[in-house]
């Protein structure tokens, strides 16, 4: 079956100019020289090597070459490039560390990739008021490292936090294991400085939550770079919990683990994190990080409870332990030291990265279901993978019902690529059948654009299109993302897929 748009383009979401890929040959011939004149030679990458290195993010199934890549050194330089692109009708796409998993940083129509990786400074730390101003190219973890001494941290902790940028986190409204208790990125961003799609530098929000204006910051968080390029942000700093208990529970059946998750939540306990890993991922994780577990383990739950007083946290952990035992867990091992705890979290957070030990390529899917449906859903995931003849491993935020089935395969074989894409779609459809969502935290990007109409009515999508049009009523700023409104979407998809190795 040919992959294509499942629905006709929905008119009226944005004005309908032709969405043509930018053709460097037909376009402005002096593109890279012009960019060099604007930013200097050290800040412009062009040529075949740059086109390749920036043709996808960590979602490697679809690829599209940029005509040039720029590395601006400040907000004003970002604005200069955007204004230049607007003047010459060149599409542009922002990129942080390129760790996204849905193709959000894919330069879908070519054009200019605007990297934030030279915007990596912390500009102001306001400890008494627990907030910080930082440029958005900085890696997430560096934000927390900078205030650790004061007992604070930036709470959103996506698994890629050692590299993923603040800007990327804002664009995707990133979550992470501790989302369960602390919320997603939008709950921690107070204000932003953004270069809008016309190249104006604008600011929204401020140093604190809850101004009288409409919550534009909330809208910008999760807009996947389609509303502009955020270059600086005020973020909220959260106290580190005084008491943390981390347990690793092992089960000899998948059902045992998934029933435990549903049970813990049903009991009213909200751990700080409740993560699941199945036997597929354990092969890679034990080789990479030396995590050990009892023989016969089919699933592990990584459970963390935290708080400010020992008694409450211990009571929570005891409740968790009881649910684990009632589901016949093989063992519950507590992390005894901070080093043990760090090792468990490294294994969890870098677990997907270790999948290269099993196959040359992975696609990490992202769907959400009600937690009570976890047992049924995982059974379905294994069945779909078996039918598609691709490997699957699961490593995910079980506590908030956010699945990450991770398919591993060889992307040099087009047949396998096709199977993986189809299996992914089947899983997302099932998520929706069970009352869930097409994405939990990885974003829509180009990966899920076809699936949006399965979740939203035409009226829903039109409303979202209007919201987008407040900031972006053109087609240059990160085109072909989120909303399935573009013409020629079928051809674009074939082109992206054709670029795969």
């Amino acid at each position: 079956m040919e992959r294509s748009c499942r629905v006709a383009p929905i008119p009226g979401i944005v004005p309908e100019p032709d969405m043509k890929p930018y053709d460097p040959a037909a376009g402005i011939t002096t593109l890279s020289q012009d960019l060099i004149r604007l930013l200097g030679e050290e800040s412009v990458l062009a040529g075949q090597s740059a086109e390749r290195a920036y043709d996808c993010d960590a979602y490697t199934v679809d690829r599209s070459r940029p005509a040039a890549v720029v590395l601006p050194n400040n907000t004003e330089e970002v604005a200069k490039v955007v204004r230049y692109c607007v003047k010459h009708s060149i599409p542009f796409t922002a990129r942080g560390a390129g760790t996204g998993l849905s193709g959000g940083a894919l330069p879908a129509l070519g054009g200019v990739v605007i990297s934030t990786k030279r915007l990596t400074k912390i500009l102001e730390i306001d400890l008494p008021n627990r907030r910080m101003l930082a440029q958005t190219g900085i890696a997430n973890k560096k934000l927390s490292d900078a205030v650790k001494h004061a007992g604070l941290h930036f709470a959103p902790d996506p698994s890629s936090q050692t590299v993923a940028t603040l800007g990327g986190n804002i664009a995707e409204n990133a979550g992470g294991p501790h989302t369960l208790k602390y919320g997603v990125t939008s709950n921690h961003v107070l204000g932003v400085t953004m270069v809008d799609p016309l190249g104006e530098i604008v600011t929204f929000g401020g140093k604190h939550f809850g101004g009288p204006e409409f919550d534009f910051v909330g809208l910008i968080c999760g807009s996947e770079g389609t509303l502009g390029i955020v270059t600086e942000a005020w973020i909220k700093l959260t106290p580190l919990p005084k008491v943390v208990r981390t347990a690793l529970a092992s089960f000899d059946t998948i059902r045992g683990a998934t029933e435990t998750v549903a049970g813990i939540i049903a009991k009213g306990t909200i751990p700080a994190a409740l993560e699941m890993m199945d036997s597929g991922i354990l092969k890679a994780v034990s080789a990479a990080f030396g995590v050990t577990y009892p023989v016969g383990t089919q699933a592990l739950l990584l459970i963390e409870c935290d708080g400010d007083d020992v008694a409450t946290v211990e009571a929570e952990m005891q409740a968790v332990r009881e649910v684990c035992q009632s589901n016949n867990c093989l063992d519950i091992a507590m992390a005894e030291t901070e080093a043990d705890r760090a090792k468990l979290w490294t294994a969890r957070k870098k677990g997907v990265g270790a999948m290269g030990r099993l196959a040359p390529s992975i696609v990490t899917h992202d769907g959400v279901i009600p937690r009570s449906k976890l047992p049924e859903m995982l059974d379905f995931v294994y069945r779909v993978a078996a039918d598609a003849k691709v490997g699957v491993a699961n490593i995910f935020h079980a506590g908030d019902g956010n699945l990450h089935p991770c398919f591993y395969f060889d992307d040099r074989d087009p047949e396998q690529v096709k199977n993986v894409v189809e299996a992914g779609e089947a899983i997302i459809r099932k998520c929706l059948d069970l009352g869930g969502s097409v994405t939990g935290e990885h974003g829509v990007g180009v990966e899920k654009i076809d699936l949006m109409p399965l979740m939203f009515s035409e009226a829903d999508l039109r409303m979202q299109g209007k919201a987008k049009a407040i900031f972006n009523d053109g087609t240059l700023c990160n085109p072909c993302k989120i909303l399935p409104n573009q013409k020629s979407c079928v051809e674009h998809k074939m082109r992206w897929r054709g670029m795969a190795w």
Partner: protein, 404 residues
């Protein structure tokens, strides 16, 4: 040897290596990142990019520090990919100048002669025209100065009564540049080995081939490696005090593709691990000690190449009366990286400045390390800032704890 197609296919492009790559964090460019470089090599192997025009400039800018290997959850063997690709590029279009420079650096006789001649030149840096030719940039690295030759028995003057009986012999890799530029490190090494009951079996020996393997001359590296395997034959442990050499020698199984190479690799030890395993800590407890504030820089080929970070720290922390402080970003390359500070002076200088800023922040009186490349380069930063912080090889400092 594993096929390069398979080595590059192991990268799933997760990007977890990026923040650990010094050239990526300095430039922000993914062309100067491990993920980018692996993709470029993979594309060139598949005929989609050109080795010289598209790939070479970015591999030239790679330090080969292998911090990405430590960061990589998938276990991608970046070092092996880099060696393959650089060899491919050099063999396709050899650079006579680079080859000559390597030959000069790795032959003790030529190196000694060159350095003697260089004293006649004006200035203290690598000669400008040579630097321009090699890198297109102005030189940053000072020419090394020839140390005064050490004569006599290294073991002379040791307090025989306090020494344990001799347990056995080891080989010591004398190295090419190491024996010319740092004879006093070998001197200290021999004394430390004696303090744990080992003496060095002295044999004439050549270069290990590490610099050749790292710079695109795998065939030469193999020749040198095979010859070293023959010279240091038998079953004696081989002790190495230069991280770059040790790292390559531990990978002889892969490089030489022989059983003998693999067997040789198994009996190769970095000095710090050998000293720790064989009881130097107990000996140190009885030593006079040093009243110094010590910090330690991880040479990349020790920490990332050989995964040795704890042994040298454990030893330094055991020096009586000394205070040990951690160096921020100790795992980040200083920019020396073999011949990198000669072929990429600009980036190398930025990394040196970054390293030195951290060294100064520790307020240490002495910084120790286990590799001649870092040693010379970081010592230059010390000289340039008034020489208040001494730069030494770990072995020198440990030996001083005994003999003052």
């Amino acid at each position: 040897m594993k096929r390069v197609e398979d080595l590059t296919a192991q990268c799933i492009r997760c990007g977890f290596c990026l923040e650990d790559c010094p050239t990526f964090t300095e430039t922000g460019s993914e062309l100067e990142s491990p993920r980018g470089r692996i993709y470029l090599v993979r594309s060139a192997v598949e005929g989609k990019l050109r080795w010289q025009e598209d790939v070479k400039p970015h591999l030239d800018r790679c330090l080969g520090c292998r911090a990405c290997e430590t960061a990589c959850p998938s276990g991608v063997q970046y070092g092996a990919i880099l060696e393959f690709a650089r060899d491919k590029i050099e063999q396709e279009k050899p650079s006579a100048l680079k080859k000559g420079f390597l030959a000069g650096t790795t032959s003790p006789t030529i190196l000694r002669t060159q350095l003697n001649l260089a004293r006649l030149l004006p200035g203290k840096r690598v000669p400008g025209p040579l630097s321009k030719l090699l890198s297109g940039e102005t030189a940053e690295a000072d020419l090394p100065t020839l140390p005064t030759a050490l004569k006599g028995d290294p073991l002379a003057g040791m307090d025989q009564a306090s020494l344990p009986a001799v347990k056995g012999e080891v080989y010591l890799l004398e190295g090419c540049a190491m024996r010319v530029l740092y004879p006093h490190v070998h001197w200290a090494t021999r004394r430390l080995l004696r303090r744990i009951g080992y003496v060095v079996r002295e044999v004439p020996q050549g270069c290990c081939g590490a610099l050749h393997a790292h710079n695109g001359y795998l065939d030469e590296a193999k020749k040198m490696g095979n010859s070293l395997v023959q010279t240091l034959s038998g079953d004696l442990p081989i002790v190495v005090n230069s991280a770059g050499c040790g790292s390559t020698m531990k990978e002889y199984g892969h490089l030489l593709e022989t059983e003998a190479g693999a067997e040789f690799a198994k009996r190769t030890f970095d000095l710090s691990e050998f000293l720790l395993q064989n009881g130097l800590q107990e000996e140190l407890a009885k030593a006079k000690g040093l009243s110094q504030r010590i910090t330690y820089h991880d040479a990349c080929h020790l920490s990332h190449g050989q995964k040795i970070t704890e042994a040298p720290r454990a030893l330094l922390k055991s020096i009586p009366n000394a205070e040990y402080v951690e160096l921020p970003e100790s795992l980040t390359c200083c920019g020396s990286a073999g011949i990198y500070n000669v072929v990429q002076p600009k980036l190398a200088r930025r990394l040196l400045n970054r390293k030195w800023k951290h060294v100064e922040s520790t307020q240490a009186t002495v910084v120790a390390m286990g590799n001649p490349g870092c040693h010379g380069w970081i010592a230059q930063a010390s000289r340039e800032t008034g020489g208040r912080i001494e730069v030494v090889h770990t072995a020198e400092l440990l030996e001083r704890a005994f003999s003052g």
